[in-house]
């Protein structure tokens, strides 16, 4: 059995099958891409993995353990991390506080210690801050530490979202269009940093991406969704040649933004 697998997942909103019997499997440390036209069901797929939307059917396994019955926070604690298409940053918090929140799963102080302000809590807090600062540094955001997140441009928020997710040291990290709002150079830098950290922490990546150049260079394997169904998977080279994929993109009249 694969390290991380989704089997026969369906997500239904009212009468709409946003995700229809999709299966995919990732080995540990692999990087897979998910592509597809607007409305194909990519975000719904990872929302269902996170537990933010209910599944109409299917299973999710991480390292042999089923996740589909767990509430969202337990899935996160089990090692499922993610970023958001719209970043979902906490706007009234500083950048560093946003990223430190990402380390919640690994907190070293209890509620009582937090309340009493014990020396142990203070030490844990310093450590958490250092880790968050290192992560921000990796994305070139150290100078924004104390800035209010709500004041920053979208591309920066996307990076903060990524840093916040990585601080949680997930075993599987799902990225929803991680480079949107960035120019090409920025996008390449972010992907390089993300790839390096994911490698160091042995994080398995599932990346939704509209930028074809980015995803073709990043993924070992690409899954293509259209109208909620998986219409193809394969290596980047195979996907680029696949007539079904070309049809799906051109048929929708929205060519890849590459």
């Amino acid at each position: 059995m694969s390290f991380f697998s989704i089997d026969n997942m369906s997500v239904i909103f009212g009468g709409l099958r946003a995700v229809s019997n999709v299966s995919l499997a990732l080995g540990e440390g692999e990087i897979h891409g998910v592509i597809g036209p607007n409305g194909a069901g990519k975000t719904s797929l990872i929302n269902a993995v996170s537990g933010l939307v209910p599944m109409a059917g299917g299973t999710i396994h991480l390292d042999g353990k089923p996740l589909q019955a767990l509430p969202p926070h337990r899935r996160a604690a089990a090692g499922i991390g993610r970023t958001f298409q719209h970043a979902e940053i906490f706007p009234d918090q500083s950048v560093i506080a946003n990223v430190m929140t990402g380390g919640f799963a690994h907190r070293q102080s209890s509620l009582l210690q937090d309340f009493l302000g014990t020396p142990g809590k203070a030490a844990a807090e310093r450590q958490a801050r250092r880790e968050a600062e290192q992560m921000l540094d990796a994305f070139g955001l150290l100078s924004f530490c104390d800035a209010l997140a709500g004041d920053l441009p979208f591309g920066t928020l996307k990076k903060i979202d990524l840093a916040r997710a990585l601080v949680g040291k997930p075993r599987v990290l799902m990225l929803d269009e991680p480079t949107s709002g960035m120019n090409d150079t920025e996008a390449q830098e972010v992907i390089a940093a993300c790839r390096r950290i994911a490698g160091e922490l042995r994080v398995t990546l599932l990346v939704i991406e509209h930028n074809m150049r980015v995803i073709m260079g990043l993924a070992n394997m690409i899954h293509v969704l259209d109208h909620g169904e998986k219409i193809a998977d394969g290596t980047p080279a195979e996907i680029q040649r696949n007539p079904l994929v070309i049809e799906a993109y051109l048929g929708h009249g929205s060519a890849a933004h590459a």
Binding site: P71, A77, E88, F115, A147
Partner: protein, 333 residues
């Protein structure tokens, strides 16, 4: 963004806090008993505001029954110390704990409700607590009330308002310390997270139910301690003290002071405790002037009085767009 900071606090906050503390320590001996009493009330209101602000300003849970928890603390402390003969210094924290346990039970409906619906449930809780106070005269003295004497410390009864003031000041400082530590901790960040985005919070392993319950429990604990102190400060309590108007005043403290900010809680509670006394000069127009001032503050300073600091600084330094925007949001701690 200031260069100087102490324990993550910005320079103006540190200077403001230190000045306030110095005044709170040094001034009272120069004033009379009435002022000691008033200052003690302001401190208790700070405790109430700090607790409520964690629940509402940080964790985003609306509550209109803060005064119920105050009542639970007040009656529990009084009952334990007067009727059961426990030391006040044991009864007071026990009152806080009993109030916290009640907060835990109130938290359950809050897990399913938000916004107005939650507000209505908390109003129901307030109503129930008022009825219980009236229906349990054996414990509470019923509608006629119950007297709650001053405690003794090191064998001396704290009958003078000045000595009791210093005790309340110490407890208020401890409250602020706890709130400060909490807001700079995983728990405090979890509060902010569930307020800002429940979806993002959960995907960062923050449990919604547990976190909301923790916010209710902590806020009720503070309110219970404040209530226990209030009972012995005024010396006599009855259900009228803990009605909806008191809860609304606590909400006004934090909205006027600044939601989600400890400084805001402190400033809001002090200003709105002292202001009505100052406005006595306006006699029958007192309430009118008070309400008018509230409206003016809320319209001009949507982020409360703490929004004033950064706004002034931004004007003075004509700084970059970021800090002006920050000023408008009132990010001062």
């Amino acid at each position: 963004m200031s260069d100087f900071s102490l324990m993550g606090l910005k320079a103006p906050t540190v200077i403001f806090g230190a000045a306030l503390l110095l005044l709170a320590l040094a001034l009272p001996p120069w004033f009379g008993s009435y002022h000691h009493y008033l200052a003690s009330l302001a401190l208790i209101n700070i405790i109430m505001a700090v607790g409520l602000n964690i629940l509402t300003g940080n964790a985003g849970q609306i509550s209109l029954c803060n005064s119920s928890f105050m009542a639970i603390g007040a009656y529990a402390t009084t009952y334990l110390s007067v009727k059961l003969g426990l030391s006040y210094w044991l009864a007071l924290p026990l009152g806080g704990v009993i109030s916290a346990i009640s907060g835990f039970f109130l938290g359950f409906p809050a897990l399913r409700l938000r916004g107005f619906y939650l507000a209505v449930v908390t109003l129901g809780f307030l109503e129930v607590s008022q009825i219980l106070i009236e229906q349990l005269p054996g414990i509470t003295g019923g509608v006629r009330g119950i007297s709650s004497p001053r405690p003794a410390l090191f064998g001396h009864t704290l009958s003078s308002d000045l000595s009791f003031y210093y005790v309340i000041l110490a407890i208020t400082l401890a409250t602020i310390w706890c709130a400060y530590s909490l807001l700079r901790s995983p728990t405090g960040r979890a509060f902010e997270a569930i307020r800002s985005s429940e979806a993002a919070a959960q995907t960062l392993a923050v449990p919604l139910a547990q976190t909301k319950l923790a916010a209710f429990v902590i806020s009720a604990f503070f309110a219970g301690i404040g209530g226990g102190l209030f009972a012995s400060l005024v010396g006599f309590i009855d259900p009228l003290e803990f009605g909806v108007w008191t809860s609304v005043r606590h909400v006004v403290f934090i909205v006027v002071g600044g939601l989600g900010s400890i400084t805001g809680s402190v400033v809001g509670a002090i200003v709105l405790t002292v202001l009505p006394e100052v406005l006595r000069a306006f006699k029958e127009y007192q309430e009118f002037v008070f309400g008018g001032l509230l409206l003016v503050v809320l319209i001009l300073l949507p982020h409360g009085l703490v929004g004033l600091g950064p706004a002034i600084r931004a004007r003075l330094t004509q700084s970059d767009a970021t800090s002006v925007a920050a000023a408008q949001r009132g990010v001062a701690e």
